[in-house]
Amino acid sequence: MSSAIDRRLTLLLLVVLPILAAITDNNFHKSILVFGIINAISAVGLCLMLGLAGQISLGQAAFFGIGAYVTSNLVIRLGLEPMLAIVIASCCAMAVGWAISRPLSRLHDHYLAMATLAFGTVMYIGFANGREWTGGLDPGISVPKFSILGADLSSMNALFAVAWIVLTLSVIVANNIAGHRIGRTLRAMKMSAPAAASIGIDVVQAKSFVFAVGALLTGLAGGLYAHVARSFNAGVFGVGYSIELLMMVVIGSLNRVSGAITGAFIITALPILFDRFEDYRTLVFGVTMVLIMKFMPTGLVDGLFSLGARLAAGRRG
């Protein structure tokens, strides 16, 4: 993560996105781009947790939900400025992420995956049944139009711009984390937690740090989601979303921020491709995941890259 190539690819993606948004005049395609960016923000968070620090989480949908519901409630009940509400909501998600990671810090791999899955399920049950605050599964919740300081920014173009800025900031944060001391700490912990502890790294603190950052980014995405979707129910925040996020990182890359963003767009755009095969989507998802993990364990885009590099080297040699 945070290699020179990765940073250049990320920059390329960030430049291409506005161009794509400018040339599509179809509002549906534009909304796919916006949702793609939102998912990309979440995926960058999970990429830090899983790719950089080796901490698997199957409970990301909970942070996404906290972001969305706290934002909605602040805006609806207190009439707070939407952007401020999003920031407060993502801080809430971060606090929950930090708090949940402390007791879970003894767990790793399989156990961590199951524990986070259980956490995500508990939160989902809470979202679905805390109807007073969330509207549950039916009727759900509706959020007023997005605005900044009174200026109406609810058009798809404006929402795209806001989401794009947030994504850019998230990418900068992720790259800074990966490139600095804390990034090396996390990488050391991924390779071997006991070895990292033996050279004076506080493993518990490192784990809760990366959980907090992952939750923060996912909560941020959730807050944006609330304003873009404007009307949604608790069904969005089930285990399915956590698994979809994992798919995005797996399809893209476990090691590159640019890969996570690519994966997010591929998964978000799939419904367009699978229009007529909606029923087969889950099956294809699962089979793809198994195949990628077997043959390209660092991610599909990553695997294709190294395959290309090997072929090019072979031709030269």
């Binding site: 698997i56 156990y111 995956a113 259980a118 399920t121 508990v122 049950i125 698994i243 699962g286 364990p297």
Partner: protein, 289 residues
């Protein structure tokens, strides 16, 4: 009231115990948590409903076929997904079993349908009076199923060559390999047994609680919780964990709220993971670095 709650708690607890046994066997021989395990249970229930409903088979062959097919599916998952993956590559194992589970769910959705199915109970008589309590006949089948599988498993692990080799692999995989035991074969057999027992749990549960292509992951979380509460790696622990979990859930549903009964049981899982990760009956294994 209390008596009835205990009966329904033990009924669902027996199902959790059967699911937990599958987790435990696979963990003992493979050192992995099988995230596709819930889908074996789902497959058992859905196939039982399919054979009795669409194919109009009698109950006994339908149940046996469903159970055997879940075993075959489990074998396929191991052979295609896991047989050549490094034992120590845990994250990859999590992802592969998770992916296999999603694929099975998708396959059930495409080939067995998206409807919630209510297959027939095993015996015509709906419920039996035991003293002051009414027990549904299916609950008795479930209890009998748990007992039968426990005895069969005990016999297999204790008195057959295959069982001995599986126990050897679970104690020390490397030493077992040096003694001429094929760890791959033991691992594959563990998956088949998990598939068969899980499928049977699904078939036994379906008449009581209906069956749907989407409920696998939920059953998996419950079964895993039972395995952890009891102490993963020990079949007896799985049974104790399942019954404790079922009873807790049933008490929570009866005295607190039926909506939050799942929250109570998952909170129990998180508490055990945090406070006593080896479970109620498990022993602490020394950690090798």
């Amino acid at each position: 009231m209390l008596g009835q709650i205990v009966v329904s708690g033990f009924t669902i607890g027996a199902i959790y115990a059967l699911i937990a046994i599958g987790f435990t066997i696979v963990f003992a021989t493979n050192r992995l948590i099988n995230f596709a395990h819930g889908e074996f249970v789902m497959a058992g229930g859905m196939l039982y409903a399919y054979f009795t409903g669409v194919q109009q088979l009698p109950i006994v062959p339908a149940f046996l076929l469903a159970t055997a097919l879940s075993g075959a599916v489990a074998w396929l998952v191991y052979q295609v997904g896991l047989s050549d993956v490094d034992r120590d590559n845990h994250i990859t194992q999590v992802m592969i079993t998770l992916g296999a589970g999603i694929a099975l769910k998708g396959a059930a959705q495409v080939w067995l349908g998206k409807d919630t199915l209510f297959p027939p109970a095993f015996s015509g008589q709906a419920s039996v009076a035991v003293g002051p309590l009414t027990v549904s006949s299916q609950a008795l089948w479930i209890a009998g199923g748990l007992l039968a599988f426990l005895l069969a498993l005990h016999g297999l692990l204790k008195y057959t060559r295959l069982g001995a080799s599986m126990r050897a692999v679970s104690i020390d995989h490397y030493a077992a390999t040096l003694m001429g035991i094929s760890p791959g074969r033991a691992a594959a057999m563990a998956f088949v047994m998990a598939g068969v027992i899980g499928g049977a749990a699904g078939g036994l549960l379906a008449p009581l609680a209906s069956t749907h292509y989407d409920n696998g992951i939920f059953l998996a979380i419950k079964g895993f919780a039972a395995a952890i509460v009891g102490g993963i790696g020990s079949p007896l622990g799985a049974v104790v964990g399942g019954l404790v979990l079922g009873l807790t859930e049933s008490l929570a549903a009866g005295y607190v709220s039926s909506v939050y009964k799942d929250v109570v049981s998952l909170a129990l899982l998180l508490c055990v993971l945090i406070l006593r990760p080896q479970g109620l009956l498990g022993q602490v294994l020394p950690q090798k670095l």
